[in-house]
């Protein structure tokens, strides 16, 4: 009975890729944040599928499921680094898991483009890290400006996640102290907003800014609208809330909300892709599907132009400008996107409506 035992040797980057090249997606495919992750991964897969239609050397899609957790991501990232066929990573999905994984990718020279990690701490984190999405330092001031435009006293609520809290902090910094009516923080999964609403009421605020995601935001806005005292308070929130689900969950109460997002919703920016996505996956694209698609697209363009090593792809990402689908991408030396566009949206009659570029 022979037991196969070989001593593991740390592989070099492209020693011998026995099969097709691979692009990995890092994010949550299971767990509470799975919805966003699955939508992003679908975008990646679609981009690769489209590329493979006309490519001689096919590319495979693969994924590491971090459950959006910084605890799991480094070990999984190490797996990607060890895979000789892995040329790049689209991910991580959330800032926490990205922050944890980037040092590992850095060590292995694996280029990374994140479609949705917005924490400012990722700027200048590593030469291999880039992101398509705007970091909160851009979105925050824009939100503060909108809030100041629509009201005089602003109440800031965050959801104690790195994203929500980070965004709320930047918004608060951009407000004059006389404009800040009060603050509160909730947790993910909060359903009972009555005490928050009471605080908003007693602070006599006329605008509420919510830093967080759409599940809690939809419950919050309903609670605000149900209370006669806060019925007409304006609601301002960022891209974590901008989602078709928000409208669905909040119903009529969503109307009149002011939201920002770095990109256009897919059905406006890339209608053909939108249709193709729906046909392929039988569901609506998600929050960052378009960004994930384009991140993969960037990698695929690099591969198409003959770059098949991690180092050359990273160089390509640093230097080139790529016209993707519905957006043009280029990255600065800090890793942040140079072509950030921040948009303002509102909800009218149950639909997300684009208002203006900021």
């Amino acid at each position: 009975m022979a037991i196969g035992v070989t001593v593991a040797v740390a592989p070099s980057a492209n020693a011998a890729c026995a099969g097709n090249y691979k692009l990995y997606f890092q994010g949550a495919l299971t767990g509470p944040a799975a919805e966003t992750g699955i939508n992003e991964y679908n975008g990646v897969k679609l981009a690769i599928k489209d590329y493979n239609k006309t490519a001689s050397a096919k590319v495979d899609a693969d994924a590491i499921d971090t459950q959006a957790s910084g605890a799991q991501s480094p070990a999984l990232a190490a797996k990607v680094v060890a895979d000789e066929c892995a040329l790049g990573v689209i991910g991580g999905m959330y800032s926490g898991e990205t922050l944890a994984a980037v040092p590992v990718y850095d060590g292995g020279g694996v280029p990374v483009i994140s479609p949705s990690a917005t924490n400012p701490a990722l700027t200048n984190k590593s030469p291999v890290f880039h992101r398509v999405v705007a970091n909160d330092l851009v979105q925050g001031p824009a939100l503060a400006t909108i809030a100041q435009r629509v009201g005089k006293k602003i109440f800031v609520v965050d959801d104690a996640t790195p994203y929500g809290k980070g965004l709320a902090k930047i918004v608060k910094l951009n407000l004059k102290s006389s404009q800040l009516a009060g603050t509160d923080a909730v947790t993910e999964g909060t359903t009972n907003f009555s005490s928050v609403v009471s605080k908003v009421k007693s602070s006599k605020a006329d605008v509420v800014f919510y830093g967080g995601y759409y599940p809690e935001a939809s419950i919050f806005i309903k609670a605000l609208r149900d209370n006669p005292a806060t019925k007409n308070v304006k609601f301002v929130a960022g891209d974590g809330v901008l989602d078709a689900e928000f409208v669905k969950l909040a119903g009529k109460n969503a109307n009149g909300a002011y939201l920002t997002a770095p990109g256009l919703p897919m059905n406006t920016a890339a209608p053909k892709l939108y249709k193709a996505y729906k046909a392929e996956y039988n569901k609506e694209p998600g929050l960052y599907t378009l960004e994930a698609y384009n991140a993969a697209y960037f990698f695929l363009q690099a591969i198409k132009k003959g770059n098949t090593t991690r180092a050359s792809i990273n160089k390509f990402i640093d230097e080139e400008v790529v016209k993707g689908v519905g957006m043009t991408m280029s990255f600065g030396p800090s890793g942040d996107s140079e072509s950030i566009v921040m948009n303002e949206y509102t909800i009218k009659n149950g639909k997300v409506v684009w208002v203006r570029k900021l």
């Binding site: 196969g4 070989t6 070990a75 060890a82 926490g96 060590g107 104690a160 809290k165």
Partner: protein, 340 residues
């Protein structure tokens, strides 16, 4: 009580009892040698699909094993139901993070500090809580675990919801560097620490503290009547368990480079508790086995990704119903029963 149709521990136990010191030493050396060599083996049978086997060895395997050994002192040996063990792990991790980021203290000093803070927390919690009865104590420990996490989330000074990043690694030991790409030195370090703790606990178990814990576990009132200072020993169990958890946290933080409160949720407390219960409460080898099993299986079964936790929950129910005393239960109780 023959619930146990197949009990490997019995047969092994018989051999061990009659083995000479030389035989026992050789056995120990072989086992330790194999354990240290594990990351170097590259065998598809034991390999884990989507993660690197080496990193699985470190976390969750050895980390769980260390924590299971610690929790075993509390739950298994002394019968104190602790549902918030993750708090000690978190305290250790945050100690390494904060001292590592903001001071230049030696890693080993920070390790001691982490254990110290965990012990302090264990004392602060234990002094009021250990006077209460079983289930109430359990709830308070649950609350404690949650409170530590929520305070971490709400306190910006220690990173808040985003946590802390850039935690330094340990300094090189015997020339072996600790870096972000290679997880093996961390594995060897924590394996060494595990063995040290094991040695310490086994020594304690054979002495007065161990017997006191045993007595408290079997029947606390009787133990008190017989003159055992139950409160003192319960507190000791609690504090020792905490220290071990804290040590695991320090090492974990030094490897993972960034921590956030989300890593220290109730789920982890439950997981470690499950390791202890599965493996066989009180039996130190059993709980290590439990830790290895529960840490390894989800990684091995990752291909069932979506259904992982589902199966895990089902397994817990099935396991408890078929083997309520764990896979490898405590030896002593059986001996007593056989004699009677």
């Amino acid at each position: 009580m023959s619930n146990f149709v197949f009990n490997p521990r019995d047969r092994f136990g018989d051999w061990w009892d009659q083995a000479t010191i030389l035989q026992r030493s050789i056995f120990r050396v072989i086992v330790v040698g194999v354990l240290f060599a594990l990351p170097l083996i590259n065998n598809p049978i034991i390999d884990t699909p989507e993660t690197s086997f080496e990193s699985v060895l470190f976390y969750p395997l050895v980390m769980f094993a260390i924590m299971a050994v610690g929790l075993n002192v509390v739950v298994g040996k002394s019968g104190i139901l602790d549902l918030g063990y993750v708090a000690f792990f978190a305290i250790g991790a945050y100690t390494q993070a904060i001292f590592g980021l903001y001071t230049n203290l030696n890693f080993w000093l920070v390790l001691l500090l982490g254990m110290g803070f965990a012990m302090l927390a264990g004392t602060l919690l234990g002094v009021p809580a250990l006077r209460l009865r079983g289930d109430y104590l359990a709830i308070i420990t649950l609350g404690f675990g949650e409170i530590v996490r929520i305070i971490a989330v709400n306190t910006e000074a220690i990173g808040g919801a985003a946590g802390l990043t850039g935690i330094p690694s340990p300094p090189p030991i015997f020339g072996v560097e600790f870096s972000v790409e290679d997880v093996r030195p961390y594995y060897w370090l924590s394996l060494t620490i595990l063995l040290i703790f094991l040695w310490g606990i086994i020594r304690l178990s054979h002495r007065k503290p161990g017997r006191a814990w045993e007595a408290i576990r079997e029947d606390e009132d009787v133990a008190a009547f017989m003159g055992v200072q139950t409160f003192k020993y319960k507190l000791w169990a609690f504090v020792i368990g905490g220290a071990i958890g804290g040590a695991a946290g320090v090492i974990y933080a030094s490897q993972i480079l960034s921590i956030e409160p989300k890593m220290f949720e109730l789920n982890l407390s439950i997981m470690i508790l499950a390791c202890v219960v599965f493996g066989g409460m009180g039996n130190i080898w059993g709980v290590i086995f439990g830790a290895v099993l529960l840490g390894y299986l989800p990684e091995k079964l990752r291909f069932l990704t979506d259904y992982r936790i589902l199966i895990f929950g089902l397994l817990m129910v099935v396991m408890m119903n078929l083997r309520p005393n764990g896979l490898i239960p405590r030896k002593k109780r059986e001996v007593i029963l056989e004699k009677s």
